[in-house]
Symmetry: D2
Subunit: 333 residues, 4 copies
């Protein structure tokens, strides 16, 4: 596993779903990858498993389970939809807990990665602020805790630029002191498609790896480093300008292909370039002028707050039996 | 003037500089438009005048004076550069004050348009928070005000969606009550080039017109409506995804033209489309998928704060003789 | 009425309830003042009417209706209690609307007085951020508004120190432009009792008068000035240190009186001083040392947010038939 | 030392200076305590040393060095004074560094204790946000760091109620991972005098002990626990209502004593009670009514921000030779 260079893939995405989309050709099946998709009234759930090294090399993601919830309607700030997403998220998350054999009293540490001063990177810290914290009750008055709860703690370790210490090292120290059975790491991601930004949630049992997420992590938050299992929750909140352009050119290309036998006259060589060549070209044009920035939708403040609430509500319901999955939102604010 | 439909121009930009760039062909001169450019160690100042109706129709901007400061280096958060930009801004702003005949005791109302809950639209309210407010001293203890100051007031009227009232109407009411001699209106704009976002400041003596800025204004902040002159200060803080793509295609096109006699084989029909046709095509592809959002760079929180401080410092120096243009930053925080 | 100097009363309180408590002696009835009290499971509602000039002079408050909700339990952040308070507030507020003859389509402007940068003074602006804004729907698409709503707009005019303009003047200008039928003005108040701070809400149909509230208003928000009725909503959020001391001495005095025939030996002259003399003494001691500050409880951030939500929820339910008084909290966040 | 119960002292203060004031009688000298006072144009600096167990028992503070800067003028928000305080603070802090033998390359971890959501408790986290972070440069590119800097890291570990983990344990874990030579712990304190709130800074080489500060710490941040020296920086930001009353009664008592031979007739028994008896009485009266809250001045938002900037500026100058003590403020914002 260690020799797998995940950074070789030039079209940057932290979503296994997008990595699979890029790797597959229409009609084909990628060996070592299984996936199923459920549509539930505006919520599209994809359960993808990278079964082995072959699948891992094919899409550039580590073997493991990845679940993605895509909800384009989240941009409309419909609180009914938000509640439904939180409930679905909770159900999918419970499946992860079962699969890795976590019982109902297993102690959980929630880690909110990212920088709270940079709105699109503040997802993790915002989730940490909104989840129910119970560990101190178990420590200080264990006999008084009502049934249906488990010990949950949560920290936002900051980022290297604001603390001077790798967030991975800070988490390691806290894990050694507080001895959780499971880490849930929440992070903001980069997507390759603007329409997935702030509308998509990924759950994965593979941890957080160096270089993933928005910040430049040099060390991961993984079971290998931490000594306990790590479930990662990620939401794409930014996209490279070059990726927007490249993605649009690909859509143009597909668009014309459906209309004419030969898209060449319309798009010239742009049609024949493969994804990475085209992206390379776009970057060469954009970079010198400072165009190739990471961007985020204008309404980022509200979007991030909404999704952080959904994740916090979902986690509260998934982690504590006493919190009802039918009304998860009542436990956060 | 009234029959000039500024919204006909499908490539949306609030910057006169960009409007001129789009209208002109290399080597040509647009009748009715004069402009000069000064480069001062990383700060590019363009003084553009739309002299008459002919120029106005050519570039789709009202007759008047437009000064643009372009400072790509602002993204590096260099406080020395920030101070120099504030000083240059103050000098250019003083020229506007002189040109419209405002004397040193003329009363000024600074209006910060935009929504403080939406970071890329919060520029105006942030400037209002940082400028020196002096009007109440002149009202309450006129004899105690030190020389070198003028009466300055400032309001952030909010946006239609959060107040239920047009910001233009709120400003009108405040103007009637407080009777300023001049309005300075600060607003966040849309640009057509990502590299200008958060690095460019425009000063114009034409006021704020319906549909300009980020919000959907239906009424303007103009001398016609307010009864006193209006100087507008704008900073592009967002750009449409479709504009990023279109802009990149244009750069690709120019790029290949310099390398080969015929860019056709490389870019196909995309090379021969004119700006608006190509933009139309891009939008048709992006829109159905929810891709055509207004986006802003990831670091928007810091960028907006920096530029708001620059503008506030510059206004303090330009409006009050007692504030030194050589050390304008000391008066804001 | 104009010659009534409300500022003569040296024990500063903006609450009619406290003014009455100070004016009355045990067992006595103050002519011109009627009041009734209802206790509803932790919520104490007092409906007080200053019926005439005699009552007004007796307690130093203008003739009119004052309703106070006292809820000591609000400090425990119990969301069930918060919902009940919002519902009770809505019911009391509806009685005010009926009493002044406002029909269900009367247009309302909510004014959030105070300074959003000073947490204990940010109540008004926070309420404005959380109420439902509907006026623009009635203006822009009157035929599409669902039944059960009325036109509501809301502004936070800032304070003299940050705008340079009296908030009263700003409101006047906005009223002239937007022509509401009723103004609801929300403001933070000073109390004379620490236990009422952030636990008490007052509704009054007498408007906001110069010198009331936390800021130093020189002009009021009253029907006389605005031309339309004004209902004031106030929450005490601060108390003078000297008032805390004076209040405690009074409690000590009462305490010993119930235990002994003569509190003199225990409290000396402090027992025989009347309220104002004692306060004067306390101030003389505290002032030179900078002790006599306005203070607020440590948890002010959370308390203010909670009460702002209660008021916003209550207003939404009281103003719109379509919003259910049984579940008012769902309409704010 | 371990058997010293610091919590026996019923008048709660975290300031050694106040503890000494309470313990001493006019004209007397407390054995085991030495102190000197310097006045520098509005800044009063007291250097107090608890030399031995005798002194420690006398005032209820651990043996060690305590420096207090009292600056009543800080409430006037004079930026010139703020700069001077930062410079004086830096000089005093450098003396601490020398005394405990820290050389110029010793690695420092700054710990900002407290809760960033509770303004009067947010001092520590705010200092952490404003200090220069350099450790990662030393780790990632040690050869490129300019001379005159040392490795500085900084974390805000949160509070038990928001993380579920003792802040002391979090710091321990981070210390084990990042291996600093010195910890600087910044915390908000309780004072016994309202006029010292937000105007006083204490530096002590005794660390942070259980129960000190605003939160309820059960474990300290001390050399014993952390394995490296700990310098504590504290600012009183809150005071108990009962302490305000008690303090005022003491002042009344002193006041009348200077005017008359016998204050008894004026203050009765209140004059003869000792400090703790009187406080007990005050608490008995205030507590049942919910009056005995921790309070903070109304302007807490601005005061905390100002003092956090002063401390951050002072630390930057004291820790890095390359930062000039004559212009420390330029390095923070």
């Amino acid at each position: 596993m260690n020799d797998l260079d995940l950074r070789n893939y030039s079209v940057r995405t932290d979503l296994a779903l997008e990595a699979k989309e890029m790797a597959e050709t229409p009609g084909s099946v990628i060996p070592g990858i299984t996936s199923e998709t459920i549509n539930d009234d505006g919520i599209k759930i994809t359960r993808l498993t990278v079964e082995n090294e072959q699948g891992s090399h094919a899409i550039g993601k580590l073997p493991g389970n990845y679940v993605t919830l895509e909800v384009p309607g989240l941009r409309s700030q419909d609180s009914g939809l938000q509640d439904r997403v939180a409930t679905q998220f909770a159900k999918e998350f419970e499946l992860f807990l079962k699969r890795i054999g976590m019982n109902k009293s297993a102690k959980v540490l929630i880690v909110g990665l990212g920088n709270w001063n940079v709105t699109p990177d503040a997802l993790g810290p915002l989730v940490v602020e909104n989840v129910m914290i119970t560990r101190h009750f178990f420590e200080l008055m264990p006999d008084d805790v009502a049934p249906g709860y488990r010990p949950v703690s949560a920290v936002a370790p900051g980022v290297l630029g604001t603390t001077g210490i790798e967030s991975s090292e800070i988490v390691q120290g806290i894990v050694q002191q507080s001895e959780p059975d499971l880490i849930i790491a929440v992070d903001a991601l980069a997507s390759k498609a603007l329409e997935r930004v702030n509308t998509t949630i990924q759950i994965a049992d593979t941890g957080i790896h160096p270089g993933s997420g928005i910040g430049n992590k040099r060390k991961g938050v993984t079971e290998e480093i931490m000594g306990v299992p790590v479930i990662a929750i990620g939401v794409p909140t930014v996209v490279y300008a070059s990726t927007i352009v490249n993605n649009c050119l690909e859509m143009l290309s597909s668009h014309f292909k459906t209309q004419t036998d030969n898209a060449g006259p319309i798009m010239g060589m742009l049609h024949t370039l493969d994804d990475n060549e085209r992206l390379q070209l776009v970057r060469e044009v954009l970079n010198p002028l400072g165009h190739d920035l990471l961007v985020t939708p204008k309404e980022v403040d509200q979007f991030i707050e909404d999704i952080a609430n959904i994740i916090a509500s979902g986690l509260n319901a998934a982690l504590h039996d006493a919190v009802d999955t039918n009304n998860v939102a009542a436990y956060t604010h």
